[in-house]
């Protein structure tokens, strides 16, 4: 009988731990947020296999708060390091964090910050849904915009030429493309509004060849996710012109905004986006 009770207890324990063991990428990927002392803290995870990467930010349109995370997804949750960088790409400090998703919430425990203190946050998905995919107006509903005319010849690019914040749109849905040097590579994020995790994506896989910048926008949530938007960009006269093409996304109909060209203005320095 005692053995049966022990087996039952063991079975119950295993059952209780099963959600952790069953944790899969879809439960983790994408954005998580929490608000502390009026400031939102956000993680955005890219998950491929057991590898995690992504971004962390505080007041996310303040580009100085943008940091980058790397880690692993195991049977018992997440383990990752958040690297906060200086403008020159050097490491300012690192947070060491573990996390577990349970009943739709992400509980993270970590140490870090300039003071090296411990923290525990309970994070949740954005309460507001993603913006619906928008289709272009039917042909004839409005006149075609004038053809785009580049403001000058495309400029030869370098890390320092593209690092910073590039902006498009206006008002609360203005988008911030934040590109930072991290060691010897570039990493970034896209947000707008920047306190809504469904309105932010990771930017990665940057490469520069002459006058051409390529990078991926990592769509981790929503229909057909995960997939990349492959961006090819050129810069002239403080304008970054993007051609955006989804990869690995079969369902996006031609003519949706995901196939658009768009223009960003900048670069605004990271400091000029600092907490207001």
């Amino acid at each position: 009988m005692k053995m049966l009770m022990m087996l039952a207890a063991l079975t119950a324990t295993l059952w209780l731990t099963r959600p952790a063991a069953a944790l899969n990428a879809s439960e983790v990927r994408g954005g998580w947020e929490t608000t502390l002392n009026g400031v939102e803290h956000i993680y955005q995870f890219k998950v491929r296999g057991d590898r995690i990467s992504g971004i962390a930010c505080g007041d996310c349109e303040d580009a100085t708060t943008l940091a980058f995370l790397d880690g692993t997804l195991g049977p018992y949750g997440l383990s990752f390091v958040v690297t906060h960088v200086r403008d020159d790409g050097g490491t300012a400090y690192q947070d060491h964090v573990t996390g577990m998703v349970d009943h739709g919430e992400l509980t993270v425990k970590g140490t870090g910050g300039p003071g090296g203190g411990a923290f525990t946050w309970t994070m949740h998905k954005d309460q507001l849904p993603p913006m619906p995919r928008m289709a272009r107006a039917p042909a004839g509903a409005r006149p075609a915009p004038p053809p785009y005319q580049a403001p000058g010849p495309w400029e030869q690019l370098s890390d320092s030429r593209v690092a910073g914040v590039w902006l498009t749109g206006a008002g609360t849905f203005k988008q911030f493309f934040i590109i930072r040097k991290v060691g010897d590579q570039l990493l970034g994020m896209l947000c707008g509004p920047c306190n809504r995790t469904y309105f932010m994506e990771i930017l990665d896989d940057f490469a520069i060849r002459g006058d051409t910048l390529t990078f991926n926008v990592l769509h981790e949530e929503g229909r057909d996710a995960p997939y990349y938007n492959r961006v090819t960009a050129h810069v002239a006269r403080n304008e970054m012109r993007l051609a955006v093409v989804p990869t690995g996304l079969n369902a996006a109909p031609l003519g949706t905004l995901q196939h658009a060209d768009m223009t960003l203005l900048g670069p605004v320095s990271l400091a000029a986006t600092a907490a207001r």
Binding site: E61, A141, P151, S158, A170, K174, P193, R237, N238, T273
Partner: protein, 293 residues
């Protein structure tokens, strides 16, 4: 008696012949790039007072300098002050300008290191002003540029929702380059620089046509509100010259501006003639350098 009257009449005639007409001088002038390099002046003239801007490559904000001078019977006499980012003076050019058969002949001495004397024959830009949704007048007088609707189409744009509370402003908060009015070659650069202990600037877009640029001046900051004037001298809707009075607020790297031209009756209280547009920035002056680095 007749002998006395004759010289007086000649003097009067001579005065009419040589008195400078502000409309001959005001607005933008450019050099022939192939022969003289790229140089642009934009003069604002009220009475005999002249102010304005100079730039070489005008969307390279580091080349922007400021003009102050006088209009006299023989034309313009002015100083061009080149400034550092902190507003202090780097050097000054001293120049005169004389209107001659539709051209502006400028003679001066550059204060730049290795500068020296220069003489440029400048002209108005043959492309004229860019079209607006209303007819655009210009100097020298001629038919206005016809109105051309913005390609916004049949859909009303969504209402503007500011990205956050308006921020308390300081000169440091607004100095730099603010970009807006679309994308591509006609994108506009609002360049605001420290000039001693005050602010001055210019707007251009496109930036190689003096008919699509104007000096910015009369900056004033009241808490979260920035006021300044766009000095329309030789182009714009309605009578020339006029000031387009700007009221601006800043929130999350966005400068939201409304304008009220002073050559038009003010709208009812609480409304602006031009309802608003957003500029993105501030981009550092250095980041507008051609080539970027």
């Amino acid at each position: 008696m007749k002998k006395i009257l004759m010289p007086l009449a000649m003097l009067a005639f001579a005065h009419l012949a040589f008195a400078a007409d502000a409309n001959d001088y005001r607005g933008g002038w450019e050099t022939d790039v192939a022969t003289s390099g790229s140089h642009i002046y934009d003069f604002s003239i009220r009475g005999d007072q002249v102010r304005g801007i100079y730039c070489a490559i005008c969307n390279d904000a580091t080349t922007l300098a400021f003009v102050d001078g006088k209009l006299g019977d023989n034309g313009l006499t002015f100083v061009v002050t080149h400034v550092r980012d902190d507003g202090s003076t780097t050097y000054r050019d001293h120049a005169t300008a004389r209107f001659d058969h539709g051209q502006l002949v400028v003679q001066g001495t550059s204060g730049a290191p290795g500068g020296g004397k220069f003489e440029w024959t400048m002209h108005k830009d043959p492309r004229g002003p860019a079209p607006l949704p209303v007819p655009v007048n210009k100097l020298p007088p001629g038919p206005p540029v016809p109105a051309e609707p913005f390609p916004v189409g049949g859909r009303r744009p969504p209402p503007y929702i500011q990205p956050g509370p308006w921020e308390q402003l300081t000169p440091a908060k607004v100095v730099g380059v603010w970009l807006g009015f679309g994308a591509g070659i006609d994108k506009q650069f609002f360049i605001i620089r420290r000039f001693g202990n005050r602010l001055r600037g210019m707007v251009c877009g496109r930036c190689d046509n003096p008919y699509t640029m104007a000096a910015l001046d009369d900056f004033r900051i009241d808490g979260d509100t920035l006021h300044f004037n766009i000095l329309h001298e030789d182009w714009g809707p309605g009578s020339l010259p006029f000031h387009n009075q700007v009221t601006a607020h800043v929130s999350q790297n966005e400068m939201r501006i409304t304008t009220q031209p002073d050559n038009r009756a003010p709208p009812p209280p609480g409304r602006a003639v031009f309802g608003g547009t957003s500029l993105m920035g501030p981009v550092s002056l250095e980041a507008t350098r051609r080539g970027g680095e």
